[in-house]
Symmetry: C2
Subunit: 384 residues, 2 copies
């Protein structure tokens, strides 16, 4: 096991009819900015529950946060926060709304020249406004971490930052929010959570049986419960298990003491930035390519994954790896998610553009920083 530090102070409030509890979690006298997305919370009744719970607080609303939230939108919100004297942020939505709200929390106190530096240059965050959330879409795990991914539409670029200071003070996880989700969002959520686990699990062995088995616990649960949720959105137990899986997939626990990859995400972000493909779908395309092209470096863990998750016990190492990749693609496809670039009308031209962008940034990625732009090319060509 590698040395590590781990601290996660987010308070999780999990279960049926928990939304009213926000009233006692937000400190008295706070002026709240309620952030949300395209308005689905008004159709599914969550908005009404939130407004009722906040009846003793002064509340300003900021809606219209888009999927893959825009930097430009966040800056507009920062203006509102300053103008209105807001001192608490409550995100009600999925990962996009929460990620945007985290960026607002950091940007409002940013003392540098340009808050874009938080994303582009890793500029240090010294202070952030307290924030919390009611998560309405199990997927990103943003409800129990300090991560945020923001898109600058004009460039276009999709970049991440991370800070303990933007961890939610509390996160309300009511599995009943799943009941009204479209199938596409359930499918994306399952795949997103699944690939989060894979980024922290499918690296190289460091003798970490607890972390490995916890990761496998989440993968097995997503494989069991994901299809149940897709089939019957009103299955509370399946919704709850899916929701808790998504949170546990990216709260830092399974990453503690082990190497992490994240190449699939970094390549996937480029596909979203250039073609607007759903985040989870980019992961479903890229991951099998990473597994195939990095089969040598990831051999031990891919074989362990094949055996423990999919019960593949027969064949040579390469045959087990081939079967594990096929099972993974088949799992994504079973949710109606295509796994090749042509399925999304992406051609070799895009590959050249992505490789050129990686070259310009001069960065290599993956758990050993050995994935050069040339290897990114091989990974994407594998998906043609």
């Amino acid at each position: 096991m590698l040395n590590f530090e781990y601290k996660n102070p987010v308070k999780i409030i999990f279960g049926k009819e928990t939304i009213p509890q926000i009233a006692k979690e937000i400190p008295d006298g706070k002026k709240v900015l309620l952030t949300y997305g395209g308005g689905s919370i008004k159709r599914n009744g969550i908005y009404g529950q939130v407004k009722k719970a906040l009846e003793n607080f002064e509340v300003v609303e900021f809606g219209g946060i888009e999927v893959n939230p825009h930097y430009e939108t966040c800056l507009k919100a920062v203006d509102v926060i300053k103008k209105e004297g807001i001192d608490f942020l409550l995100a009600v939505g999925g990962g996009s709304v929460l990620d945007a709200t985290k960026f607002m929390a950091a940007a409002v106190y940013f003392s540098g020249d340009d808050p874009w530096d938080i994303l582009a240059k890793g500029a240090k965050i010294e202070k952030a406004m307290p924030l919390a959330d009611i998560i309405t879409l199990p997927a990103t795990g943003s409800e129990m971490n300090g991560n945020s991914v923001i898109t600058r539409a004009e460039i276009p670029q999709k970049l991440a930052f991370s800070s303990q200071l933007v961890m939610p003070r509390f996160s309300v996880l009511d599995p009943e929010v799943v009941f009204s989700l479209p199938g596409r969002q359930v499918a994306n959520g399952v795949v997103d959570a699944f690939v989060h686990v894979m980024e922290q699990y499918l690296t190289y062995p460091v003798n970490s049986p607890i972390q490995d088995r916890f990761a496998e616990s989440i993968l097995l649960t997503l494989i069991e419960e994901g299809p149940k949720v897709l089939r019957n959105r009103s299955d509370y137990d399946a919704a709850a298990n899916f929701m808790w899986s998504a949170t546990m997939a990216l709260n830092g626990l399974i990453a503690a003491g082990v190497p992490e990859d994240w190449a699939t995400h970094q390549i996937g972000h480029e596909l979203t930035a250039l073609h607007g493909i759903d985040h989870a779908r980019t992961l479903a395309v890229v991951l099998p390519g990473v597994m195939n092209i990095r089969r040598g470096q990831k051999k031990e863990k891919i074989i362990q994954y094949g055996q423990r998750i999919w019960g593949i016990t027969e064949g040579s190492d390469d045959e087990i790896i081939d079967a594990a990749i096929a099972k993974t693609e088949g799992f994504f496809q079973s949710f109606g998610i295509p796994t090749t670039l042509p399925d999304y009308n992406v051609t070799a031209d895009t590959i050249s553009e992505i490789v050129a962008r990686f070259k310009r940034q001069g960065k290599s990625i993956g758990e050993t920083k050995e994935i050069t732009p040339e290897i990114v090319k091989l990974i994407l060509e594998d998906r043609l």
Copy 2:
């Protein structure tokens, strides 16, 4: 899954040569009470490392905290804290030292008449002194929770309290502390952690696959790694995996959303209070009795445990349960820990006394509060 709240803000600093990091974790200017036990930290070099790390702090020492720490000892420490103007507590030791330090942290600000009420009456704690620890014995999990168990020697009574306010600000887990542990402490630590998991796992099913699999992950890892540590105390990886297992066994995570039992602990505490038997050894005696007498109520989970942990697939339900109990006893015995009352020279007289004590307190225990004093009697008689 049941509704739950979960928050665990303890910062874990895990790995080789991490003890010097305490210098930057304790706020500047704090006057530190360094608490420890019988002095093993002076023989194994940890004391020297701690003193060196604290060279820029004013430090007062309070050693001599006994195993099953005494209430009376804690009160003496509280006097020192007040007299010396201490404002930070650093426990260096095992669960006993840390539990005592947690009680000091709460008792020093206790505004009621008698700090014993914290333990005996669940009196509310409004404030606690900040505390941290360097854990030198993987076992109790106290390093990542707000629990504490204290013994009042004169009565004798062993009681627990729990508060978020006494959670450590940070816990240093350096697996190399295991290198100098006596075999008896390793054995006790493995069994203690194992039974902690069982108390949160072996109840009744609530459809919680993540929690179940996480619990099973810890059990399997203890079964694999525990014997390695006992055989070769210098196996760093085994020590690290054992240490992380013990922490994860009782940091609240596997209890989130599921019922908890704790009957084995509550009965075991009586055996320690009356006969001074090592805590872990009382658990090894009582747990098989709880499994046997509660086999009806715990049927589904004992069978799942037998199948997933011990690979028992053949036989009727009762045969699987019998085999699972036998495997559990065999596991404890493989660490040199006897599992019946006569092994500790405890007779039927003690059973009568324990049953009388439960009757006087008028309490029923277990995950459904159905274990009456009469059932405690059956459980203990099963262990004669």
